[in-house]
């Protein structure tokens, strides 16, 4: 504990005060305070969308804050660009690693600062490789600096990012969910390096969702919620329950749904032992007629991936899918659609909607053959009539069925996609983040629509990263963590219980297979 005492006395390397940042339509940061001291690991926690990444982007010069001050070694500073942050000794390792795949490890580390010869014209490749090798030595990474990044595992790529940050003589290192893609052995390796950096006086900001990691590596924890600073507590002495309640401690404004009695209802969709790489591991569940099954979990838990394999958007490694008790093979989305499964992507603009086309065309998009006469000539009046019917039925707010879809609000766009699948007679509807980018008023309307669809006898799966939304909608809740289903809960279950399952890492992970795969990578290197 004497180490903890020392960190308490050390002056903050970085102190952010009253940081405010708005984007069009979103108040992302509301007067947030945060500091990191030399030689401490300061965890930054919060639900998805709490503002952690935004805060770190302000600190690393990617975003400019609207208000607030940043002090570096006690002096107020402006951080206007990533380069300036680098020069101040602030390094960031992004969640999506930002390496250049076609370049090798050493070239990536020294990009923009290559040692040169011949009067600055040529790159001194020898020196470049030697310096990279020295950095690797420093973090005990056994790797040929000339290995192309495209041949490295995610874990190794992360080590390259760390080496890059070290080469900038970083005194503050921001790590955004560094363990998201690592197995246990790789996490141990990462923690060893973090402890080493800590001992050398580097201040580390550690963004993570995982409670067990926090207990292992963090000195202090700061919690954010909805863009606001909630509080800072010592990691060792604070119970996990306390941290979770700080994270979720918001009131639920809507009533949970009346849960229908589905004991005798028919099972519409059942999946058994779905597997696809790391993201989907041994997932089995079923949905009944009239049921809304909510999928809760943190970002990267594998919920969208499950939806995509069921819909045939990604190939399945193994597993079985049954619709109405009949086993079906889904190789591509059209197989799923034929079986009556509709998928409403979280990214409507990219996958759900032809934004440049009109509402009527979008409504019939999945059932176009039905509206084609001889020689494939489309029956325009019929198409427009059916579109008008759905506009009416789902109260889609649009001047006419000929309006371009992009001109509709987010909520109404979502309804157009719903209409598309209803017209196609889908019994199973998978909603992936159904209210993303939709304002609060339209949200409750979408909720009503979903409940209505279930009441009409459709089986509904809702994937959402917002716990209140899951609680507001679900008759039953499936929770995922790191590609596995960690449990089912009844609708209206306490948020703490969901968070516990969502952060429950499987202790038996990193089986021998994965380790040997990593060893193979090592050999290659």
């Amino acid at each position: 504990m004497s180490a903890a005492m020392e960190t308490v006395q050390a002056a903050p390397l970085i102190s952010m005060k009253g940081i405010d940042k708005s984007f069009p339509g979103v108040h992302a940061l509301k007067s947030v305070n945060f500091e990191v001291r030399s030689g401490e690991v300061h965890a930054l926690m919060g639900e998805n969308g709490a503002g952690k990444s935004t805060l770190m982007k302000v600190l690393s010069g990617i975003y400019a804050a609207d208000a607030g001050t940043i002090e570096h070694d006690g002096r107020p500073v402006e951080i206007a660009s990533p380069r300036q942050a680098q020069e101040m000794g602030i390094g960031i390792i992004h969640q999506e690693l930002s390496l250049m795949r076609d370049l090798n490890a050493a070239q990536n580390i020294f990009i923009g600062r290559e040692p040169r010869t011949a009067g600055g014209l040529l790159i001194d490749e020898k020196k470049l490789n030697a310096e990279a090798a020295a950095l690797f030595e420093q973090i005990h990474l056994k790797l040929d600096p000339r290995t192309p990044v495209s041949q490295l595992t995610i874990a190794k790529q992360q080590m390259i990012e760390i080496a890059k940050a070290l080469s900038h003589k970083s005194r503050v290192l921001i790590m955004d969910e560094p363990t998201a893609a690592l197995n246990d052995a790789e996490i141990n390796e990462l923690f060893r390096i973090i402890r080493k950096l800590k001992a050398e006086g580097v201040g580390i900001i550690y963004i993570s969702h995982k409670m067990d990691e926090l207990k292992r590596i963090a000195d202090r924890v700061t919690v954010m919620r909805d863009g606001e600073y909630v509080g800072t507590v010592p990691a060792a002495d604070t119970p996990v329950e306390k941290i979770i309640s700080m994270m979720v401690g918001r009131e639920i404004s809507d009533e949970p749904p009346a849960i229908p009695d589905l004991a005798d209802a028919e099972t519409v969709l059942e999946v058994r032992n779905l597997n696809r790489g790391r993201e989907v591991q041994d997932v089995s569940f079923s949905v009944k007629k009239g049921e809304i099954l909510g999928f809760a979990g943190l970002m990267g838990a594998g919920r969208t991936e499950v939806a995509r394999v069921i819909f045939g958007a990604d190939p399945l490694a193994s597993g079985e899918i049954f619709v109405h008790g009949r086993k079906i093979t889904i190789k591509q989305p059209q197989d799923a659609v034929r079986a009556g499964i509709g998928y409403l992507s979280e990214d409507r603009k990219h996958f759900g909607l032809a934004t440049g086309m009109d509402v009527a065309t979008n409504v019939v998009m999945a059932s176009l053959e039905r509206f084609a006469g001889a020689g494939g000539v489309l029956k325009d009046p019929e198409i427009r009539a059916i579109a008008r019917r759905y506009i009416d039925q789902l109260s889609i707010k649009t001047p006419s069925e000929r309006q371009e879809a992009r001109l509709l609000s987010g909520g109404n766009q979502q309804k157009v996609v719903v209409a598309k699948w209803l017209l196609r007679d889908c019994d199973v509807l998978i909603f992936d983040e159904p209210t993303r980018g939709i304002d609060v008023g339209a949200k409750s309307e979408i909720y009503r629509l979903l409940s209505q669809l279930a009441a009409q006898g459709r089986a509904i799966i809702v994937i959402s990263s917002e716990l209140p939304e899951i609680l507001r909608l679900s008759h039953r809740i499936a929770v995922m963590c790191e590609g596995r289903l960690t449990g089912f809960l009844p609708g209206g279950a306490p948020q703490e219980e969901i968070m516990r399952l969502a952060t429950q890492r499987n202790e038996n992970r990193a089986p021998a297979g994965e380790l040997s795969e990593d060893a193979k990578m090592g050999e290659k290197a």
Partner: protein, 335 residues
């Protein structure tokens, strides 16, 4: 694949495309062998010289296109740009009567300026490379016609100008090998470009731009400036091609040029450079240009109609890229 990846050498950037280069090279050898067997006329020294001569202009243009494509861009203006540079040389040498080196410098400068302009449109104005260089293609075509008054400009007043491409310094030294200067210039340009890509800052950033431009920017590099520099370098090489074509035809033909950009891009693609950017080699491109020249020449010797030659070339392009896709998939599956 594993043999290549297990021992990354210092020239790694050159080696990542090793397999495709090998494939292209094997294809070239196969073509040469096939045509030699099919016709005794193919392997004659004059015919080989003709093939190399034919490959030189397209090869130089393809080298310029490779640089741009590695950054993740494309340059459609290399064909008409070449003509524009030739016209500028014609104006300086024939109309203004300046000495030959001045004309050469003017042509290369003209190419560099047009590259600078394209690069600025792409990097600063954020016009997509396809559109920016499509515009430049038309602009340069129009300017060539305007400046020349739509008439060819002959280089008759500049003695020695035709020797730039068609003379043979090598042949003067070693009479048995009458290698035209145009071919030597192609190899020189390719060598320099390869060196720039492999060893200099500019080359490194070209690959970085094509690989992950955002990452380069986040590393604190002025990505726009380097992108413009690459387009300018490509433009100066287009200027060299302008001299070559002018020298071969002993004239600047202002109506020429359209279509050359597609041949250049075809050579780049056959040579294994990825249109997605981030990968590519000059050696591959030169092999690609040679394959196209061998194909055209061999089919002509076998009396295949011109029209069918085009069909074959098109098929070869698709085949080459398909082979590359297969290789990539296998590499991805292997780990």
């Amino acid at each position: 694949m594993s043999a290549i990846s297990s021992k990354p050498g210092p020239g790694n950037l050159l080696r990542t495309q090793g397999a495709q280069k090998l494939l292209a090279f094997a294809g070239l050898i196969a073509l040469v062998a096939g045509f030699s067997l099919a016709s005794p006329n193919f392997m004659q020294t004059p015919n080989i010289i003709a093939i190399l001569q034919a490959a030189s202009v397209n090869g130089v243009l393809a080298v310029a296109a490779t640089l741009i494509i590695i950054t993740g861009g494309i340059d459609l203006s290399v064909g008409t740009g070449m003509t524009f540079c030739a016209v500028i040389a014609g104006v300086v040498l024939t109309y203004l009567g300046m000495p030959m080196p001045v004309g050469i410098a003017a042509a290369i400068l003209a190419g560099t300026c047009s590259g600078l302009l394209s690069g600025t449109f792409v990097a600063k104005l954020k016009v997509p490379p396809f559109i920016a260089t499509l515009g430049m293609m038309l602009i340069l075509k129009g300017l060539s016609l305007v400046i020349s008054g739509t008439r060819p400009i002959y280089f008759n007043d500049t003695p020695g100008f035709t020797d730039i491409a068609t003379g043979s310094i090598v042949g003067m030294i070693v009479p048995a090998v009458p290698l035209p200067n145009g071919v030597v210039i192609l190899f020189a340009v390719a060598g320099i470009a390869s060196y720039i890509l492999g060893r200099t800052i500019l080359g490194r950033y070209a690959f970085a731009l094509g690989s992950n431009e955002e990452a380069l920017r986040l590393s604190g590099v002025n990505a726009d400036r380097w992108k413009i520099a690459i387009y300018a370098l490509g433009g100066s090489i287009v200027g060299v091609a302008g001299i070559l074509i002018g020298s071969r035809l002993n004239s600047a033909q202002p109506a020429l040029g359209l279509g050359y950009e597609l041949d250049a891009i075809a050579a780049v693609v056959i040579g294994g450079t990825s249109l997605r950017g981030g990968q590519g080699t000059i050696l591959g491109t030169v092999i690609g240009a040679l394959i196209m020249a061998v194909l055209a020449n061999g089919l002509r010797i076998l009396s295949v109609a011109q029209e069918w030659q085009t069909v074959v070339t098109g098929s070869i392009i698709i085949l080459a890229v398909y082979a590359d896709m297969l290789r990539r998939q296998r590499a991805a599956a292997a780990g």
